[in-house]
């Protein structure tokens, strides 16, 4: 069944089972939030400050930002856990405040702190969620087993979660979010603190879900993650959207390709800098025998630089082109280095407890 048909059907049944005539047709946006504002600690912390986001059905949108930028607050509001102080949000056409129970029926939420019950087994956790999602009797158990199989947890199905590794917990958490086959998935930093192998495994799972038609809103601090998974990236800082576009657009607008040339000696680097400065969009940079040019069309400029140096009979020891990464984009936008390093440190100190409401 198509997703739009799904949301239409859902929209037809109001919260009390009556058929509701909608004034608008179900929107093609899975998430449509306008001007969301949330203030914590009696006004001291503006976690969200007029935040807008749109997630078209069938797409993956990455919400990218440093710790404390408001990512988690946004997800908590969109998943009806938290009430906004201002602004509005519709999920599959349902208002998060007025139609919260309908919203909960179309979303799945998996978080950075895997919220599964430690003392229950994998099967028991998924059974519990299946019952709480009111799956038809008799389908709860098969669904749990199907998911455990799909996520490579069959062998651990009857072990208490307290014996699971971090990666297994995270997979179970994601499985729990998928029990009721929600058409929209919120993933709040799904791979934070995971080892590289588990991260790659989880990315594969998420990509498979997207292929199956699931819409995803993903928060992350990892630019690589947004680059790989997201169709669009929304960059958030201090509760506000500061950039919005496809990864390629963001790189094109804000990033820059760097052409790095290694010359025979310092003097020829300086000479080359004079010869090639018209190719660079910014001031050229000389460091010893190393010359850096900031360029727009990398390969074409590199070829031109080679021609000129060859014509001047200047030998070249090395040449490299650095395509901009989302890291560069992020740095340019927020003036902050991304937190990958600190994150790796905290991850190694073990599982963090859930912080108070002010988490990013």
């Amino acid at each position: 069944m198509s997703l739009s048909r799904f949301s239409q059907l859902l929209a037809l049944y109001g919260p009390f089972g009556r058929v509701v005539i909608l004034t608008e047709m179900p929107s093609s946006l899975a998430v449509d939030a306008r001007g969301l504002t949330k203030v914590f600690s009696k006004g001291a912390v503006r976690a969200l400050d007029g935040f807008d986001i749109e997630v078209p059905i069938g797409q993956v949108v990455g919400l990218l930002g440093p710790n404390g930028s408001g990512k988690t607050t946004a997800v908590r509001i969109l998943s009806t856990i938290l009430q906004p102080d201002a602004g509005s949000a519709a999920i599959m056409g349902f208002d998060v405040q007025k139609q919260a129970s309908s919203v909960r029926r179309v979303i799945g939420l998996a978080g950075q702190y895997a919220t599964v019950d430690e003392n229950l087994t994998g099967t028991e956790n998924l059974d519990m969620v299946g019952h709480l999602c009111h799956l038809a009797r008799g389908t709860v158990k098969p669904r749990a087993l199907e998911l455990l199989e799909q996520f490579g947890l069959s062998d651990a199905a009857d072990r208490p979660v307290s014996t699971y590794s971090g990666g297994m917990r995270r997979r179970l958490d994601l499985a729990a979010a998928l029990v009721a086959r929600p058409p929209l998935l919120f993933l709040d930093e799904p791979t934070t603190g995971l080892d590289p192998q588990s991260r790659l495994g989880l990315w594969d799972v998420i990509e498979a879900l997207v292929k199956g038609g699931t819409t995803v809103l993903l928060t992350t601090q990892y630019l690589e993650e947004a680059d790989r998974l997201a169709n669009r990236v929304v960059v958030i800082d201090s509760g506000k959207v500061i950039a919005n576009g496809t990864p390629a657009e963001l790189k094109r607008d804000l990033g820059a390709t760097v052409l790095e040339l290694t010359l025979a000696d310092d003097a020829s680097a300086t000479t080359a800098s004079e010869m090639l400065k018209d190719l660079s969009t910014k001031v050229t940079h000389v460091d010893g025998n190393l010359l850096e040019l900031t360029v727009e069309k990398g390969p074409a400029v590199a070829a031109e630089a080679l021609r000129r140096l060859d014509a001047a009979d200047m030998p070249l020891l090395g040449l490299s082109l650095h395509e901009p990464s989302l890291d560069d984009v992020f740095l340019a936008l927020t003036g902050q280095k991304t937190e990958v390093d600190t994150e790796a440190l905290t991850a190694s100190t073990g599982r963090k407890g859930r912080k108070a409401k002010e988490t990013s």
């Binding site: 069944m1 799904f6 059907l9 859902l10 049944y13 109001g14 919260p15 009390f16 089972g17 908590r76 998943s79 009806t80 856990i81 129970s101 309908s102 909960r104 029926r105 979303i107 939420l109 978080g111 702190y113 919220t115 599964v116 019950d117 430690e118 003392n119 229950l120 028991e124 519990m128 969620v129 019952h131 709480l132 999602c133 009111h134 038809a136 389908t139 098969p142 669904r143 199907e146 208490p160 729990a176 009721a180 086959r181 199956g212 407890g353 859930r354």
Partner: protein
């Protein structure tokens, strides 16, 4: 993969059926947790057993009571005290769920809003039934000989369970208000000590100074202990009015504490 199935949003009748089934799902989950950590049950049973032995064999000889043996006087007090202390588990359990992030997941599910508190308290009632059984056996082993019939005994148990159920909602509030499970436990003791010890649970009212007697005679723990004693021991302790007072206290506490806890849960 099976086909996507769509269940229509529940009608009002359907949603109250969901409230019951959701409460039962959460209850089962809490009971599984209890079963999976048998150490918790073992050591939490040890404490009341120690109290029985302590009062039966150490302090009991120095506490004169009228009309019955001290162990008969003691056991209704021990039952009620054990349930009061057991209510701490309600606050610890909820504090743990809240701070582990599990309540967060529950909140984003289409489940009944009342099921988390309902499931917690229902599971704790099951635990109390177990505690009553265990303490009855321990009591009988040390000489407890209840008077009356099996029905008066069961009625006494019913009153205790009702009272403990009301009390749990207050402790649910504490669990949701506390910054973590350890603090929830610490916050509970200053409430429980005066209520259980400045009561008729272990010593007769007449042994207390006059200024304390007014509080000790009328506070809910004493009233419930008196009601249980009336039903289990009777004789000198026969007091139908304490039975009604115990029920009134329980219902009153529930009506005040449950809405407080529910409101705290909605905001937590």
């Amino acid at each position: 993969m099976t086909e996507l199935t769509i269940t229509p949003a529940p009608s009002l009748a359907g949603s109250s059926r969901h409230a019951l089934s959701d409460t039962w799902t959460v209850t089962k989950r809490n009971l599984i947790r209890t079963r999976r950590v048998p150490e918790a049950i073992f050591f939490s049973s040890l404490q009341p057993i120690m109290f029985v032995l302590l009062f039966r064999y150490v302090f009991g000889g120095a506490i004169p009571v009228a009309g019955t043996t001290y162990v008969n006087y003691l056991m209704p007090g021990i039952f009620v005290q054990t349930m009061c202390f057991g209510a701490i588990q309600t606050s610890i359990g909820l504090a743990e769920d809240l701070h582990s992030g599990l309540l967060e997941r529950f909140r984003a599910l289409p489940m009944s809003r009342s099921a988390v508190l309902g499931g917690r308290t229902t599971a704790d009632v099951f635990r109390n039934v177990f505690v009553i059984l265990l303490m009855t056996i321990v009591g009988i082993l040390v000489g407890f000989r209840p008077e009356g019939t099996i029905f008066t005994y069961l009625a006494a148990c019913g009153i205790m369970l009702l009272f403990s159920y009301s009390l749990m909602w207050g402790f649910a509030y504490i669990g949701l208000a506390a910054p973590n499970a350890e603090v929830a436990q610490l916050m509970s003791f200053p409430l429980l000590f005066p209520l259980t010890f400045a009561s008729t649970a272990f010593v007769p009212l007449s042994s207390m100074p006059g200024w304390l007697q007014g509080f000790a005679a009328n506070q809910p723990v004493s009233v419930v202990v008196d009601a249980v004693r009336s039903l289990m021991i009777g004789g000198t302790y026969y007091s139908p009015s304490s039975i009604w007072k115990a029920i009134a206290w329980s219902v009153g506490l529930f009506l005040v504490l449950a809405p407080l806890a529910v409101r705290k849960y909605r905001k937590a």
